[in-house]
């Protein structure tokens, strides 16, 4: 893989990871009434 290809891949992956983290956070936010 060329460095440019690696950079493209990394950028796509980071976008997806941010989506995953946001989703987990949103799920807990929606369920916040049950905390404590």
């Amino acid at each position: 893989m060329t460095p440019e290809q690696r950079r493209k891949n990394r950028r796509t992956a980071i976008i997806l990871v941010i989506f995953v983290i946001a989703l987990v956070a949103w799920t807990f936010w929606r369920a916040r009434n049950g905390i404590g």
């Binding site: 893989m1 060329t2 290809q5 493209k8 891949n9 796509t12 992956a13 997806l16 990871v17 989506f19 995953v20 983290i21 989703l23 987990v24 799920t27 807990f28 369920a31 009434n33 049950g34 905390i35 404590g36």
Partner: protein
């Protein structure tokens, strides 16, 4: 999918030369998509057998009414872990194995986008599977709350439940990483000229599946984490007395759970969409509609989760909405079935084992799809929810659907993977035994469910005996039939059988058939140009 021609460009991309590792290092440190794919497939077959043994223990107890062998607590551990192991240990990893092997080959890429993360994705699996297996031996035994782990029952379980939760976390993390890998590979690493609408449908279905996984696995992780904190850290997400709500668990779980079942079938749709055209010697009918239908199914799958909750007491408007939305999924699914039949129509058909499994898939998956449409109708679901009718439905779509789809793909691609044609006579034995014993096992369960036999029952009213006897006999027959596949797969892998050509099947299309059989360890180091 249009047929592709291949031109090699002289200039090469940077792939550092290295010695090929041997022995255990080759596997533990694997970064090669073919090796990792092989490991996924081996692991998942082993889990299929482990989950199958649990099913046979269940069917042994259910052979006659009364409690003969197992107390109900242990019985419920069997039914629960059978579900968890089959879903998270067998079906999902097997499809990832297919993805790892075939996606780079089909798009003309040298490997997956993130080869080292791929390694981690695989090696997390035995860890998670060990947690599941070991949970039987901790005090209190394994999780016995059903694979769905509803609160508050799951809050009552012993440490085995925590093992299951951590197992789910680990297997879920593996799935998320695998999904990221697949999305990035398919989006960024297609060979020049391989536009999205020229990709094999298997790549499309896996791309869409990967998006589904990304959206749902974090939600499952959240749900089981909430179970964990309710159990041990004083939270009250699901405790009504403290302001929580047990139904919240069901909503979060099924928001994961419904798209999850499409995760488990869409790759099979992709496999069938490769096998049927190959053995009809005719292009797939309606490629564009197949893509749109798959996308429609995936999007709709997020909007229907509460059809698993029709008896929880939701308001009438919600009941109606979820009924309508669920019934709508029948339409894109029907389109796909029609397209496969239209692909066969006026083709030139031969019936080697992959095609037998593909045709059986269409036939038996449609039965499961129809029972799905029937239970989408809320009043009918009220009658059969939590009965054997539901068990019949999902085993039709998941065993006859997903598993038979996988067998179609395995027989189709074994020549490419091993360089050998498997023994066709044995393949047909495996097929006929499987399809007949499958129906013997699961068809009577429709009757049991309509008559009112509930699920997750260790014992039943004597009037249900005969159909339970038939199901148990069928189950053992089906289980042992899978050993035929194991035998012939191992034989091919060890180099017995007719050598396979690069174009192993006369009608097969796609980049993977332009490289030798078995596929060389490194392929498409220089991307082909696709016209």
């Amino acid at each position: 999918m249009s047929s592709v021609t291949v031109d090699h460009i002289p200039a090469s991309e940077g792939h550092v030369e290295h010695e090929r590792p041997t022995g255990w290092r080759r596997w533990v440190f694997a970064t090669n998509h073919k090796d990792i794919g092989t490991m996924y497939l081996l692991f998942s077959f082993f889990m299929l057998l482990e989950g199958g043994v649990l099913a046979l223990l269940v069917r042994t107890e259910l052979f006659s009414p009364g409690l003969q062998f197992f107390q109900p607590e242990l019985f419920n551990q069997f039914t629960t872990m059978h579900g968890l192991i089959m879903i998270f240990g067998a079906i999902m990893p097997a499809f990832v194995g297919f993805a790892n092997w075939m996606i780079p080959l089909q798009i003309g890429a040298s490997d997956m986008a993130f080869a080292r993360m791929n390694n981690l994705s695989f090696w997390l699996l035995p860890v998670g599977a060990t947690l599941f297996t070991v949970s039987f031996f901790v005090p209190g035994g394994a999780n016995a709350a059903g694979w769905t782990m509803y609160a508050p029952l799951s809050l009552q379980m012993g440490p085995g439940m925590d093992f299951a939760i951590f197992g789910v976390h680990i297997l879920g993390a593996s799935s998320i990483m695998g999904a990221i890998n697949i999305i990035v590979t398919v989006l960024n690493m297609r060979a020049p000229g391989m536009t999205m609408m020229k990709m094999p449908l298997f790549c499309w279905t896996w791309l869409i599946t990967a998006y589904l996984l990304l959206a749902i696995m974090p939600v499952l992780a959240a749900a089981v984490t909430m179970l964990l904190t309710d159990r041990h850290f004083g939270t009250t997400f699901f405790n009504a007395a403290a302001g929580g709500d047990p139904v919240l668990y069901q909503h979060v779980f099924w928001f994961f759970g419904h798209p999850e079942v499409y995760v488990m079938i869409l790759p099979a749709f992709g496999i069938i969409s490769a096998v049927v055209p190959a053995f009809s010697r005719k292009p797939l009918f309606g490629y564009a509609s197949m893509v749109y239908a798959t996308a429609a199914i995936a999007i709709l799958s997020f909007l229907v989760w509460a059809h698993h909750m029709f008896t929880t007491g939701m308001p009438v408007t919600a009941q109606l909405y979820f009924m309508y939305a669920t019934m709508l999924i029948a339409i894109p699914t029907g389109v796909k079935i029609f397209n496969w039949v239209a692909t066969m129509w006026r083709g030139s058909l031969t019936f080697e084992t992959p095609m037998l499994f593909a045709i059986a898939f269409i036939f038996v998956f449609t039965i499961g799809g129809f029972t799905g449409l029937i239970i989408a109708v809320a009043p009918i679901d009220i009658a059969v929810h939590d009965t054997y009718y539901i068990i019949a439905h999902f085993h039709y779509v998941m065993v006859a659907g997903s598993l038979f789809g996988m067998y179609a793909g395995a027989y189709y691609w074994i020549p490419k993977w091993t360089g050998r044609m498997y023994n066709e006579r044995l393949g047909k034995w495996h097929f006929w035994n499987s399809i007949i014993s499958f129906n013997v096992t699961f068809f009577p369960m429709h009757f049991l469910g309509l008559a009112g036999m509930p699920r997750r029952y260790a014992d039943y009213a004597v009037q249900f005996t005969d159909f339970n006897v038939i199901a148990s006999i069928g189950a053992f027959w089906f289980g042992f039939s899978q050993l035929i596949f194991l035998y012939l797969a191992v034989k091919a892998w060890r180099g017995h059988g007719q050598p396979a050509a690069a174009q192993s099947w006369e009608g097969a299309q796609g980049l993977e058939w332009t490289i030798p059989s078995p596929a060389p360890w490194h392929t498409f180091e220089t991307p082909p140009v696709v016209k």
